[in-house]
């Protein structure tokens, strides 16, 4: 029997979505481990965590939250656009999403940069002179926002690939599950931030 491409051409919309949701479960559990650690240490080092989160800039956090929520909107619009066959709008909205993601990263860069400039980074003598709670707070702050930032970067790459695929017409109004799955991923990244924001910036 020759290698006909019956398998490659096989499209399963529900299957593709199911796989993506399962993947998002695993992502959620990945962050879940960190949230668990956060909960444990917040419970045992209440004071240090309060002191730590008082130091973070609520304004920078809020701006980033607004940016990400808006990017989720543009993402959703881009999917609706391709479903209606409006390729131009879809591309514009995808581009907007990528730019928002970049803005988020730039903001994050300045935020981290300022902290590091003040000598607050894992293992720094400045940080270690604080109590255990503050050390752990900043340890978790860098790991959790760092891992989230990494997901934003991956999202930017992913969305750029989607941009290219839409541009080349490989994603259109009949076959858009790739874009939809990328959208699910992007909303997930957004959702994680929605939890990180209050945990690190707001609970003081």
């Amino acid at each position: 029997m020759n290698n006909t491409s019956t398998i490659e051409s096989h499209k399963d919309y529900i299957g593709a979505k199911m796989g993506m949701w399962l993947f998002l479960f695993t992502e959620l559990l990945l962050f879940g481990g960190l949230f668990l650690i956060y909960a444990v240490y917040r419970y045992s080092y209440h004071g240090g965590f309060q002191a730590g989160s008082g130091e973070l800039s609520t304004i920078a956090g809020t701006v980033n939250t607004v940016i990400l929520i808006t990017s989720s909107l543009t993402m959703a619009v881009s999917i609706s656009a391709i479903q209606r066959g409006n390729r131009k709008l879809c591309l514009a909205m995808l581009l907007a999403t990528i730019l928002f993601a970049a803005a988020f990263m730039v903001n994050k860069y300045f935020e981290w940069g300022a902290k590091i400039h003040h000598g607050i980074y894992p293992g720094s003598p400045e940080l270690l002179s604080n109590d255990h709670g503050t050390v752990l707070f900043y340890g978790l702050y860098y790991v959790m926002t760092g891992l989230h930032g990494l997901h934003v970067l991956v999202g930017m790459v992913l969305l750029s690939i989607m941009f290219f695929l839409v541009y080349r017409g490989r994603i259109d109004s009949t076959d858009f599950v790739k874009l939809e799955n990328s959208g699910l991923y992007w909303h997930f990244v957004d959702l994680i931030w929605i939890f990180l924001f209050p945990l690190f910036y707001l609970i003081t």
């Binding site: 290698n3 399962l22 990945l30 481990g33 650690i37 240490y41 255990h132 752990l136 340890g139």
Partner: protein, 529 residues
């Protein structure tokens, strides 16, 4: 044997037609051969450990080397053989055939997960020769030692992280495949029980593995940046590491053993010529084990500091796991009852599985009871229990599956006589190696030491001699199977008279598995004769 999917003409030639193939059968075989390579290393290290323990004092290696060797033996056997063994090899090869599909749901992700597996394995082995030298933390990577030791933990842990990612992708692929690609008429209660067990396993892979992923990432971050989450100097809690580690690693033992139980459920009916007894109970007990097994991780930590309430709850839940496991055993025995039994090699391995797993399982209760666990904690008893479940359980299931599906994979039949001789060596060797460890542990010989008190010598000597018998059995088995691929007789499509779908296609199966997707009208164990 150049027929079926072996001669499929793809885009690539030669070795590339394998390592770039998205055919689930080729990927299954890729896993098989990669795993055999790693396992050879693992078994050799294991025998070296046994050789060191033949007499008290330093025999062939010093204390530090011994620590590195038992760590590697553990890491290789656990992460590169018993966890991925059955799902990745036989799940890939047989499950799509059993459910009447041409492929898994995401063939390219399937190939990608093999690449991750190989990359992870190579990196883990590379950590031996680079950086600060081979890791000596034990396969559990317990903090704070793993964040302080100068050995090459970061690289090894990164290798394991990649293997975990590979396991996640395999799991989500299989769940989607079983949900979406079953042939018409193949409803949930017509699924062969091996596929059921692969389904339960896949859920554990998907839901538990990310936790070890993040834990290992934290070890790496901790070593590079010193964030402090597991470092008591900075207020971190090493016990938290143990919790996170076992939240994954306990369910992982069910990733190891559930598919082996599926193999047993598939082999017994074929060799007893009877339909399986209690199909639904076996299927649901797999799910029950998957669920309960996720809630019992604390029983690894009775002595490391937990509230008594937590200990009692973990102990109770652990006892509960015995119920679905026993349900399976009773159903298997009932299936054999009044069957017309042919004692083929696969059945021998399966019967050994039941016998050895019963010993492993019952000694597990000794571990799960709070009071007795304190006595045997960190002794050779635990080593014996563990090997009875993982070697006597999973590995015997694996080898049984290999003998059962070998004719399907390669289209050839092996010498039954040599296979049985090899089985006898393996079975006797296994028991001689590991049974004495129960006694030694009860008498207080700790594990993970290269040296011991003189009174433990007899037991250790018997165990070491057992390991030689065991290894010769394994070598004989491999030689026999290798010979069969070269000189074996044609197996035909259905050498055992099985009824599930994989026996309805030629051996080896054609590239697309089925010329036409079959319509399933019967249960998987209804035999015609």
């Amino acid at each position: 044997m150049k027929s079926g999917f072996y001669e499929a003409k793809g885009k690539h030639r030669g070795i590339l037609s394998w390592i770039l193939s998205t055919d689930h059968k080729r990927i299954g075989l890729l896993y098989l051969f990669t795993m055999l390579t790693f396992t050879t290393v693992g078994i050799s290290l294991g025998s070296l450990l046994r050789l060191e323990l033949i007499a008290p004092g330093e025999t062939i290696m010093a204390a530090g080397t011994y620590n590195a060797v038992f760590t590697l033996h553990g890491v290789i056997m656990i992460f590169l053989f018993v966890i991925p063994g059955l799902p990745a090899v036989f799940g890939n090869f047989c499950m799509p055939l059993q459910i009447g599909a041409r492929e898994v749901a995401f063939p390219r992700i399937n190939l990608f997960s093999w690449w991750l597996f190989v990359a992870g394995g190579i990196i883990a082995v590379m950590s031996l020769f680079t950086g600060g030298g081979p890791i000596d933390t034990g396969w559990t990577f317990y903090a704070p030692y793993s964040i302080k030791t100068g050995t090459n933990v970061t690289l090894a842990v990164f290798g394991v992280f990649l293997i975990g990612f590979s396991s996640i992708l395999t799991g989500l692929n299989f769940i989607t495949t079983i949900h979406r690609l079953r042939a018409p008429g193949m409803n949930w209660f017509r699924l062969p029980l091996f596929s059921w067990s692969i389904y339960s396993t896949a859920w554990i892979q998907v839901l538990a593995t990310p936790i070890i992923g993040i834990t290992l990432l934290l070890i790496m971050v901790e070593r590079y940046f010193g964030i402090g989450v597991f470092d008591p100097d900075k207020g971190g809690d090493p016990i938290l590491f143990q919790h996170l580690f076992w939240i994954y690693s306990h369910p992982a033992v069910y990733v190891m053993v559930l598919p082996a139980m599926g193999v047993v459920s598939d082999i017994i009916p074929v060799f007893a010529r009877r339909t399986i007894f209690g199909y639904k109970m076996i299927a649901f007990s797999s799910l029950a084990i998957a669920l309960l097994g996720s809630l019992v991780w604390g029983h690894h930590m009775y002595t490391s500091g937990m509230s008594d309430t937590a200990k009692v709850i973990f102990s109770l839940l652990t006892f509960l796991v015995a119920i679905p496991s026993a349900i399976k055993v009773f159903n298997w025995i009932s299936t054999l009852y009044k069957g017309s039994i042919t004692v083929g090699t696969p059945l021998l391995y399966v019967l050994s599985f039941i016998f050895l797993f019963a010993i492993g399982g019952l000694t597990g209760l000794v571990n799960s009871a709070l009071a007795t666990d304190i006595h045997i904690h960190d002794t050779q008893f635990v080593v014996a229990h563990f090997h009875y479940t993982m070697f006597g359980g999973t590995a015997f299931g694996f080898v049984g599956a290999l003998h059962f599906w070998f004719p399907k994979m390669f289209g050839k039949i092996y010498s039954e006589k040599i296979a049985k001789t090899a089985w006898a060596f393996i079975f006797v060797g296994f028991n001689t190696t590991f049974f004495p460890l129960f006694m030694l542990g009860m008498n207080g010989m700790p594990r993970r030491y290269y040296d011991y008190l003189p009174q433990f010598q007899t037991g250790n000597m018997i165990a070491t001699i057992g390991s030689w018998i065991l290894v010769s059995g394994v070598v004989l088995m491999v030689v026999n199977l290798y010979r069969a691929t070269q000189k074996g007789e044609e197996a035909g499509s259905n050498p055992w008279g099985g009824a599930s779908l994989e026996w309805h296609v030629p051996s080896p199966p054609p590239h697309d598995n089925f010329d036409e997707i079959p319509v399933v009208e019967t249960k998987p164990y209804e035999f015609k004769y």
